[in-house]
C-alpha cells in the first residue's frame, strides 16, 4: 500500500516539478510548485514525519508560495511576455541537468549498504518529540534562527521602503 503511494506521489512530484520549469505562465508555475509541495508533504507523511508535513504545507504552500503568487500578481507578470533563451542554451540547460542527474545517481549507488536502524520510532516525527529535541539540543541554532529572521525582516523592510528623495 505505502509502496504504491510512494510511487504515485513520486510520479506526481516529478511531473509537477517538470511543469514548474516548462509551463509558460508564471502563475501556472506557482500552482504546479504548490502541487509539488503537497506531494512532498505526502512523502513526509509516508515517512512518519507528521509534524514536518503540516509545517511544510503551512510554510511552503501557505506562506512562501502565496508570497510568490502575491508578487506575481502585484507586478502583473502573468503575461507570456517572458523572452525565452536561445534554443542552444535551452538544450544546454537540459543536457546539463541530465548530466548532473546521471552523475549524481551513478555516484550515489551503493547507498543501500548503509545500515538501516531497525528501531523505528513512529512517534519520532510528532510535535512533542521534535519539540523536546529542538528546545534542548538545538536551542542555540534555533535562537540564531531568530537573528536570521530579524535580519531578513529588517532587510525586507529596508528594501521595501520607498526611497524619499
Amino acid at each position: 500500500m505505502s509502496v504504491i503511494a510512494f510511487y504515485i506521489l513520486t510520479v506526481l512530484c516529478i511531473f509537477s516539478a517538470l511543469m514548474v520549469v516548462f509551463s509558460k505562465k508564471p502563475v501556472h508555475s506557482v500552482l504546479y510548485t504548490i502541487f509539488c509541495f503537497f506531494n512532498i508533504a505526502g512523502h513526509f507523511l509516508l515517512l512518519n514525519a507528521q509534524f514536518l508535513a503540516i509545517v511544510h504545507i503551512i510554510v511552503y504552500a501557505g506562506a512562501i508560495m502565496v508570497l510568490f503568487l502575491f508578487t506575481i500578481m502585484f507586478l502583473n507578470l502573468n503575461a507570456e511576455v517572458e523572452p525565452h533563451k536561445s534554443n542552444l542554451l535551452k538544450v544546454a540547460a537540459v543536457v546539463c541537468g541530465g548530466l548532473l542527474l546521471l552523475i549524481l545517481v551513478s555516484c550515489l549507488k551503493g547507498a543501500e549498504n548503509i545500515p538501516v536502524n531497525p528501531m523505528l520510532d513512529t512517534q519520532m516525527g510528532m510535535v512533542k518529540n521534535l519539540g523536546m529535541v529542538l528546545y534542548n539540543e538545538y536551542m542555540l541554532p534555533f535562537e540564531m534562527l531568530s537573528i536570521l529572521f530579524l535580519s531578513a525582516m529588517v532587510g525586507a523592510v529596508l528594501l521595501g521602503k520607498k526611497e524619499t528623495k
Binding site: K85, L89, A92, A93, C96, L99, L100, I103, S106, C107
Partner: protein, 632 residues
C-alpha cells in the same frame, strides 16, 4: 631590573633619534643637546652599572624583547645579551660617544641642520649598540647594516657637495661588498649549525674538529665582512674618503667605534677562528700588510684628517694581526686604547680645523702651539700614545701585539714588518705634530687673525680623552710588572680555547728598550727635518719617483677605477644598450603582452549573465565529479 637596563641602553638613543628627528628644524639647540647628549649619557651610566655587575662576577645579562623570526626550524629572538666583551664595547660606544656628542655641540654650533646631525648621531649609537648587544648574528647584522647606513648619511651630511656624496656612495658600496661576505658566512653558519644564536653555535662549534673546511670558509666569509667594515686591504679605500664628513663623525664612526665592528665580530666568533688556524693566518697576514701599506701612505699625506685616516687603517691592521695570531684579548686591548687616542687625535684635528677656519692642509699650518695650548698638549699626548711611548696607552697595547705576534709560530716575518710599521707610524705622527704646532705660521693673514682656542665644549672632551689616552694602558700591564692583566681576566669568559702566547720577560724588556731608543731617534730626526730645517712638504705635483707614488696612495684608487669600475661600466653600457633593450625588454614586454592579451581574453568569460554564471558553476561541479569519480 638588570634586564631592564639592558633594554634601556639601546632604547634611549633610539628615542633621542626619533624625537630630534621629528622635531628637526623646529627645536632649539638646548633641547636637542639635552635630549641627544642626555640619552647617550644615561646609556653610559647604565653601561657602567652593567660593567660593575659583570666585573663582580655576574653571569651575562640578557633581555628578550620578542620572538622575532620563527620560520620552520629557525628560531630567532630579538634579544640582547651583555657579557664581558659587549660590556667593554658598550663603555667605549656610550662613553666616547657621549664625549663626542658634547664636542659636537661646540663644533657644529653654526650648522643649520643641527637637529638632523644629532639625530643621525643618536641613530648611529643605537645601531652600534644593537650590533654589540645582539645575542645572534641576525641582530648583529641589523646593527651592522644600520651603522653602515648612518655612516653613509653622515659622510654625505653636507649633501650639497657632490664630492662628499661620492665619498658616501663609495663607503656604502665598499661596505656592501663586505656585507655580502658576512651574509654568506651567516648562511653557512645556519647551514652548518642550524642556528644563528651565538650560544648555540659556539656550543656546537666547540665540539667541532679543528681545520674543518666549512668552518674555514665561514671564517673567511666573515672576515671579508670585517675587511669592508674595518677598512682593510683591499676594501680600505673608502675610509680616507669618508673624512668628507664632519670631524666628530670621523672621530666617532671612522676611528673609535664603527670601524672596530669587524674586530668585534671576529673576537665574538673567536671559537670559530680558533678552530681554523688557516683562516687565522690569513687574517694576520692581511692585517700586517694593511698596517704597513697604510702607514707608508700616511707618510706622504698633507691633509691632517687624511693622515689620521690612514693611521686608523694601519692601526686596525695591527688589531687584525693580533686577532690572526689568536690573541683576541690583545686585539680588544688595542681597540680600547686606539679608541681613546684616535678619537682624541681626530677631535684635536677638528679643533685645529675649527681654528683655521676650515683649512685642513698641514702645509698651511705651523706654530699653532701658542694659540691653541690645550689642543696642542692633548694632541701631543695623543701622538705619544699612538707612537707607543711608554707609559702611554698605545705603548702597552702595541707592545703586547708585537710580543704576541713574535711568539706566534712562524710569526717572525710578521713581527719584523709590524715593528718597522711602528717606526713609520711614529715618523708620520711626529711629522704631523711638528708641522702643525711648531715652526712658523704659514697660513694667510685672514686665518692668522682668527686663530683662537676652541670653546669649553670642545676642550673638555679633549682633556678627558687625553687623560684616558695616557692612562688606559694600565688595564693591561705586561707580565714583567707582575701586576694582574685586568683586561685579560675580565675577558676570559668570552675567549674560549684560544692558544696562549706568552713572551719571555727578557724579550719584553728588550722590546721596551729598543722601542724607546728608536722612538727617541725618530722624534729627533723628525724634529730636525720639520722644525729645525723647516722642510715643508712640496706640492703634490712636484713629487717625484717613489715619493710621488706614495703621495698618490700607490694609485690604488686609479687601479680600482681601471680594473673594476671601467670594465664594469663598459659591460653595463653594453648590457644597457643591447641586452637590456632587446633581450630583457623584449622578453619582459612579450610577457606583458601575453598577460594583457590573456587578461583581455579571459575577462570575456565574465559575461554579466546570471544564467551563464550558473552554467559555469554547474559545469564546475560536473568537472569535479568527473575528475574524482571517472578519471581517478
Amino acid at each position: 631590573m638588570d634586564s631592564l637596563i639592558v633594554l634601556l641602553i639601546p632604547l634611549l638613543p633610539l628615542i633621542g633619534f626619533i624625537i630630534s628627528g621629528t622635531l628637526n628644524k623646529q627645536a632649539n639647540h638646548t633641547l636637542i643637546n639635552g635630549l641627544t647628549c642626555g640619552s647617550v649619557f644615561v646609556s653610559f651610566l647604565l653601561s657602567v652599572i652593567l660593567f660593575y655587575q659583570l666585573q663582580s662576577g655576574s653571569a651575562p645579562i640578557s633581555y628578550k624583547l620578542l620572538n622575532w623570526i620563527y620560520v620552520g626550524a629557525l628560531k630567532l629572538d630579538l634579544s640582547f645579551t651583555v657579557d664581558a666583551l659587549s660590556s667593554i664595547m658598550l663603555l667605549i660606544i656610550t662613553g666616547i660617544g657621549f664625549l663626542i656628542h658634547v664636542y659636537s655641540t661646540g663644533y657644529m654650533h653654526d650648522e643649520p641642520d643641527y637637529a638632523r646631525f644629532f639625530s643621525y648621531l643618536n641613530l648611529f649609537v643605537f645601531f652600534m649598540l644593537l650590533l654589540v648587544m645582539g645575542n645572534n648574528f641576525v641582530v648583529m647584522f641589523v646593527g651592522w647594516e644600520g651603522v653602515g647606513l648612518c655612516s653613509y648619511l653622515l659622510i654625505g651630511f653636507w649633501f650639497k657637495n657632490n664630492a662628499y656624496n661620492d665619498a658616501a656612495k663609495k663607503a656604502f658600496v665598499m661596505n656592501r661588498i663586505g656585507d655580502l661576505g658576512f651574509l654568506i658566512g651567516m648562511f653557512l653558519i645556519l647551514n652548518k649549525f642550524g642556528s644563528l644564536n651565538y650560544q648555540t653555535v659556539f656550543d656546537l662549534a666547540s665540539h667541532a674538529a679543528t681545520n674543518d673546511p666549512t668552518i674555514t670558509v665561514i671564517c673567511i666569509c666573515l672576515f671579508i665582512g670585517a675587511l669592508g667594515k674595518s677598512a682593510q686591504i683591499p676594501l680600505y679605500t673608502w675610509l680616507p674618503d669618508a673624512m668628507a664628513g664632519p670631524t666628530p663623525v670621523s672621530a666617532l664612526i671612522h676611528a673609535a667605534t664603527m670601524v672596530t665592528a669587524g674586530i668585534y665580530m671576529i673576537v665574538r666568533t673567536n671559537v670559530l677562528y680558533t678552530l681554523s688556524p688557516d683562516a687565522g693566518f690569513l687574517v694576520a697576514v692581511m692585517g700586517v700588510a694593511t698596517a704597513l701599506f697604510a702607514a707608508t701612505i700616511g707618510l706622504k699625506q698633507n691633509d691632517i684628517k687624511k693622515v689620521l685616516a690612514y693611521s686608523t687603517v694601519s692601526q686596525l691592521g695591527y688589531m687584525f694581526a693580533a686577532l690572526g695570531v689568536g690573541a683576541y684579548e690583545t686585539g680588544m686591548f688595542h681597540v680600547i686604547t686606539h679608541a681613546f687616542f684616535k678619537a682624541l687625535l681626530f677631535l684635536c684635528a677638528g679643533s685645529v680645523i675649527h681654528a683655521m677656519s676650515g683649512e685642513q692642509d698641514i702645509r698651511s699650518m705651523g706654530g699653532l702651539r701658542k694659540k691653541l695650548p690645550i689642543t696642542h698638549i692633548t694632541f701631543f699626548i695623543g701622538t705619544l700614545a699612538i707612537s707607543g711611548f711608554p707609559p702611554f696607552s698605545g705603548f702597552f697595547s702595541k707592545d703586547e701585539i708585537l710580543a704576541k705576534v713574535h711568539e706566534y709560530n712562524g710569526g717572525f716575518m710578521l713581527f719584523t714588518i709590524l715593528a718597522i710599521t711602528s717606526v713609520i707610524t711614529a715618523f708620520y705622527m711626529f711629522r704631523l705634530y711638528w708641522l702643525t704646532f711648531w715652526g712658523n705660521f704659514r697660513g694667510n693673514s685672514h686665518q692668522a687673525s682668527h686663530l683662537h682656542e676652541s670653546p669649553k665644549s670642545i676642550t673638555i672632551p679633549l682633556i678627558l680623552l687625553a687623560v684616558f689616552a695616557a692612562s688606559a694602558g694600565l688595564i693591561g700591564l705586561p707580565h714583567l710588572f707582575h701586576a694582574p692583566h685586568l683586561l685579560n681576566n675580565f675577558l676570559a669568559p668570552v675567549i674560549i680555547n684560544a692558544p696562549t702566547l706568552e713572551a719571555s720577560a727578557s724579550f719584553e724588556i728588550a722590546l721596551i728598550v729598543v722601542s724607546l731608543i728608536v722612538l727617541a731617534l725618530v722624534t729627533y730626526i723628525t724634529y730636525q727635518i720639520y722644525v729645525a730645517k723647516a722642510r715643508i712638504p712640496v706640492a703634490d705635483a712636484d713629487e717625484k719617483g717613489i715619493s710621488k707614488w706614495v703621495a698618490n696612495k700607490y694609485y690604488i684608487d686609479e687601479l680600482y677605477n681601471a680594473l673594476i669600475t671601467q670594465p664594469l661600466q663598459a659591460v653595463s653600457t653594453f648590457a644597457n644598450n643591447y641586452i637590456e633593450k632587446y633581450v630583457i625588454d623584449g622578453t619582459v614586454n612579450s610577457f606583458r603582452w601575453l598577460t594583457n592579451t590573456g587578461s583581455l581574453l579571459i575577462r570575456q568569460i565574465q559575461t554579466g549573465s546570471i544564467g551563464l554564471y550558473i552554467f559555469g558553476i554547474v559545469i564546475g561541479i560536473i568537472c569535479m565529479f568527473v575528475f574524482k569519480f571517472y578519471l581517478a
